[in-house]
Each structure stands twice: as C-alpha cells, then as structure tokens.
C-alpha cells in the first residue's frame, strides 16, 4: 500500500509555467518528446488537457459495469433462493418466483454496487488514499492551489535524466526548475 510507506528513491522534476495555455502546450511537447510518467497541475481544470497529455479514457466504466451486473444477478438469485427454494411462502397468491416483485430491489442493489464500483474504482485507479506525495516537499508547489501551473516528470520514466530533462523543461518555457528528492 502506498498509504504509509511510499516508494522511496525516485526523484521528480518540477517546472512552473505562466498560464493555462502554456501549460497545455508544454503538456503536448512533453508527450511528443516521449515522456509517459508525467503530470500537469493547475488550480482549475483546463479544457483539452486530457488530449494534450494523451490520457486514455478512464477504465472506471468497466468496473462500474461489472459491479452493476454482479448486483443485478446476485440480487435476483438471492431473492429466488430465499423465496422459492429455502423458505417458500405463498404471498397474496402469487407464484414463489415472482420476478416482478424482485425488480425494485434488484434495481436498487444494481445501483448500489455500481456506485461502490465507481467510487472505489476511482480511488483505486488514482492510487488513493495516499497521505503523502514527494511533490509536497517543494516550497513553490503550494502555489498550485492559487496561481501556479506545473509540469512534473517522474524519475521512474524511461527517458528521465536529471540534467537533460531539466534542460528540456527549460527549453519549452518552464521556469523555477526544481529537482525534488523523495525524503
């Protein structure tokens, strides 16, 4: 788990850009140059950033779909088992397996499990919860919640090289280049 023992050792290079447009272009350049483990940080969502960074569509939908299907099937099977197999009881003269009566419950369980799938899947794919990230070791990074636009490239990236990557970030308009050591 990332929660209490984050992986040590990998450095991160941080560069600051002056506005959303330059951050967007920087993201495009970083992707085009071949970096894959990088991230962009801004105080607000920027339109077109997903495409600029070359992000794939989130796989959360598949988790939700599977969880929903599981909810639907398990609810129907469980109600069938309780009321038609394990303890059959005649209720208002209807058949033991009265699927009509199960639909509201099955619907609700489908929604419930889908919602669990959506929330937990989102947290899982984002590797959350996580109490600390090396980026917080940077003094300037606190500006990200105010007026700072940053690109960070992680040391785990195949193309990563401290000197070259720093120079590259500077060449595409980055300022305040900072190598963040994971303490």
């Amino acid at each position: 788990m990332d929660l209490f023992s984050p992986k040590k050792g990998a450095d991160i290079i941080l560069a600051r850009f002056k506005d959303p447009a330059s951050l967007l272009h920087a993201a495009e350049k970083v992707r085009e140059t071949g970096y894959s483990k990088f991230d962009c940080h801004s105080p607000f969502p920027i339109h077109g950033m997903d495409q600029a960074m070359g992000l794939k569509r989130s796989p959360v939908g598949y988790v939700v779909g599977c969880m929903g299907a599981t909810g639907l099937v398990s609810a129907m099977v469980f109600m069938w088992w309780t009321s038609a197999v394990d303890y059959p009881l005649v209720i208002s003269g209807k058949p033991f397996f009265s699927w009509q009566a199960y639909i509201p419950v099955a619907f609700a369980i489908t929604i419930l499990l889908s919602a669990f799938g959506a929330v937990l899947g989102m947290l899982g794919f984002n590797k959350l919860p996580r109490l600390h990230h090396p980026l917080f070791n940077s003094e300037q990074f606190s500006a990200v919640s105010d007026n700072g636009f940053f690109v960070s490239i992680e040391g785990e990236d195949k193309k990563y090289d401290e000197a070259q990557t720093s120079k590259f970030l500077e060449s595409i308009g980055g300022t305040n280049i900072e190598v963040i050591k994971d303490l």
């Binding site: 339109h47 208002s92 009509q100 639909i103």
Partner: protein, 393 residues
C-alpha cells in the same frame, strides 16, 4: 439545398419539404378513402398517428421550455429546431378535428345509453361527457399553441438584438409554460388515450406518455439533424458532442420510460384488483402478448444495451439507427395503448395505420422543414452560441 454560411440561412430548402408534402397529401387522401370503407378502423388508426406526431411536437415544446429554465448552453444550436417542431402544436389542432367526429366510434362513454346502464361510467359522467371533453381538448390546444407560438416568435425577436429583457421575457413564458405543459399533457393523455378504456385508470399514465413523447422528439431530432448534416449544412456547428448529449438524454429517457411503464404495471400486478388488472390482461391475449414483449425488448432492453457505450452515442450511424428503432417503438407503444379496445382478440395491422401515419407525418415534416428553414438555423445573436458550438464532453 443551398446554404448561406455567413447568415446561417437556407436559400433553397431543397426537395425534402416537397416530398413530405406530396406524401402527406397522398396519405391523407388514402385515409379519407379508408374512412369511407371502414370508419371504425380509420378513427383508431387516426388516433395512433395523431398522438404519435403530437407527442413529437410536445417533446419539442418541453425541450425548448427546459432549455430556457435550466439556462442550458449546450443546446443553443438545437433551439431553433425544437422551436420549429414545437410550432406544429397549433397545426395538430387541425388533425384533431376527425377525432371529434369519431368520438362515438372511439369512446364508449360518449354514448349516453351506455353510461346510463353502467354504474362506474355514470359516476364518472361529470368528467367524461362529450361537452366537457371538447372544452378540455380545445383548452389543451389553446395552451400548447400559445406557449409554442410565443416561444417561436420571441426567438425571432432575438435577431433584432439580445438583451437581459429578452431573456427574462422568455423565462417568464417558460416557467408557467412548463407547469401548464405538465397539467395539459397529463389530462390530454387521460382524455384521449386512457378513456378509450373508461373503466380503467392509472394516475401515472400522463408521465408515461410524457416519457414517450420526449423520446419521440429526441429520436426525430437526431434523424432530421443528421439529414441536415448529410447536406453539408451546420457542420462544425452541431457536432458529435451535441449528438452525444442527445444520445445521453435518449438513453436516460429510455430508462425513464421503462421505469414509468414498470411502475404502472408493478402496482397493478401487486394489488391484483380486477378493475385494474383487466387492462394488462387485454394486452396479454393472443398476439397482443407479442406486442407487449416487443415493447419490453424493443423500447427498453435492446436500445438500452445499444446506447450503453460512448462510441454508439457519438456514432453517425449507430445513433440514428437507435433513434429510428425508438420512433418505430414509440408507434408500437401508442398502438398498444389504443388498439386493444378496438381489436381485443389480437393485433390486426391495417393499411390505414400506415396511411394516416404518413398523411399526418408528411404534413408535419413539411411544416417543420418550412418553419425551420425560414429563419437562420441557429440563433446568431444568442450570447451563448459560442459556448454551445465549442461544447465538448
């Protein structure tokens, strides 16, 4: 078709309107012949076709109303279209006239001797009587006509210049308009469709009709706008993102329709009171059972699965295909509501069903196309137009 790219006006509206008009006149003529040969069949076919096209118009009116009330921006490029479709509501009053003449064929409760010998119907007689029925029907058309015409005319005034005053004036129409819409569509569906089986009642019936109506409009809008797109018009204005949102709305209302249909069925099934269950029993006899199953799968399960993915909602082929399926299913739904009281032993499709559907539909499409192309296809003075064009999701 010729289109002016700078004013967004159509200079030559092409042959669609003419073809629709010719088909419409032919259909109406065939229907008129059908009246002379079998008027019971004629009135029931007419009722299905009339409500089919009426609900497309009502869905459009709702779309315009909710657009203003929700302060929607994405749908600005579609507003002129929904206004033009909504403007068919005064026209539909014309097609309602045959139903007034067919009251005795359509509605049991319009026969005084039947009411006198029927305890339930005499109890309902203060509401279900011919005079009050006609007054109510006229009232619905006055309200729909007024609201849709005001919205259409106001939208044209925007070309003279958009202002805060303009915006508040359309909102002042829309807020009471949507309340009136809810009341009138509920009671109109009670009067025209539910009272075909006057012993039966369901309070959710109006919402059921509304859900189908909006689906009908969304499907119609997708198909006709794709046609406009195929003529090289409004490309880059109405984009995949707008179709994606129309698809999402359609997907949502497929579920809403099923939800309403199931809620109606579920309570009646659970309570098992004969005077209520008989309505569903009528629709589970002979070939009506196939129609009921066709609705469950064709109106819900199949389009639900087909529209599940992002790809299909953005596809220029898949989405119009599902829209076409839903238009067909909307017709099946209305047929399923109307005809069991006329042919209780099973489904007997008649050429008159097609004749009146094409007859009213031809005039409907001709009218919509004429209104839509008579003005700029998008509200060029709307301050949110740019936001709408750039809309992404």
């Amino acid at each position: 078709m010729k289109f002016n790219d700078s004013t967004y006006t159509v200079t030559d509206s092409g042959s669609l309107g003419r073809i629709a008009l010719v088909l419409g006149i032919l259909g109406l003529a065939a229907s008129a012949y059908g009246y002379t040969s079998d008027h019971g069949q004629f009135f029931h076919s007419w009722m299905v076709s009339f409500v089919f096209w009426l609900t497309v118009g009502l869905g459009a009116l709702f779309f315009t109303l909710i657009h203003y009330l929700a302060n929607a921006r994405w749908s600005v490029v579609l507003r002129r279209f929904s206004e033009a479709v909504g403007l068919t509501l005064p026209l539909m009053a014309l097609f309602f006239i045959p139903i007034l003449f067919g009251m005795h064929d359509l509605f049991h409760w319009s026969h005084e001797e039947v009411v006198a010998s029927d305890h339930l119907l005499s109890g309902k007689a203060s509401y279900l009587n011919s005079g009050f029925f006609i007054i109510r029907s006229v009232g619905y058309f006055v309200i729909w006509g007024l609201v849709s015409w005001l919205l259409y005319a106001k939208s044209g005034q925007q070309e003279q210049g958009h202002s805060e005053k303009w915006l508040s004036s359309v909102r002042r129409i829309s807020a009471p308009g949507i309340i009136l819409f809810a009341v009138t569509i509920t009671f109109a569906s009670f009067d025209w469709l539910m009272s075909l089986d006057p012993h039966w009642y369901s309070t959710i019936f109006g919402v059921y009709i509304f859900s189908g109506a909006l689906l009908g409009f969304l499907a119609f809008a997708i198909i006709l706008n794709r046609f406009v797109y195929s003529q090289n018009i409004l490309r880059g204005i109405i984009t995949d993102n707008h179709y994606h949102d129309l698809g999402k709305l359609m997907f949502g209302f497929i579920i809403f329709w099923a939800y309403m249909g199931f809620s109606q069925y579920f309570l009646i099934w659970y309570a098992n009171i004969p005077e209520e269950t008989v309505w569903f029993l009528d629709r589970w006899v002979g070939s009506w059972k196939d129609f009921s199953l066709l609705l469950i799968f064709g109106h819900f399960a199949v389009p639900f699965v087909l529209l599940l993915t992002r790809w299909s909602k953005r596809s220029p082929i898949m989405l119009p295909l599902v829209a076409l399926l839903l238009l067909v299913m909307h017709w099946v739904d209305l047929y399923w509501l109307v005809f069991p009281s006329y042919t209780p032993d099973g489904v007997h499709l008649s050429w008159q069903d097609a004749a009146s559907l094409i007859g009213i539909g031809g005039i409907f499409v001709w009218f919509v196309w004429g209104r839509y192309t008579s003005r700029p296809l998008i509200p060029i003075k709307d301050p949110d137009l740019g936001t709408s064009v750039r809309h992404t999701n």
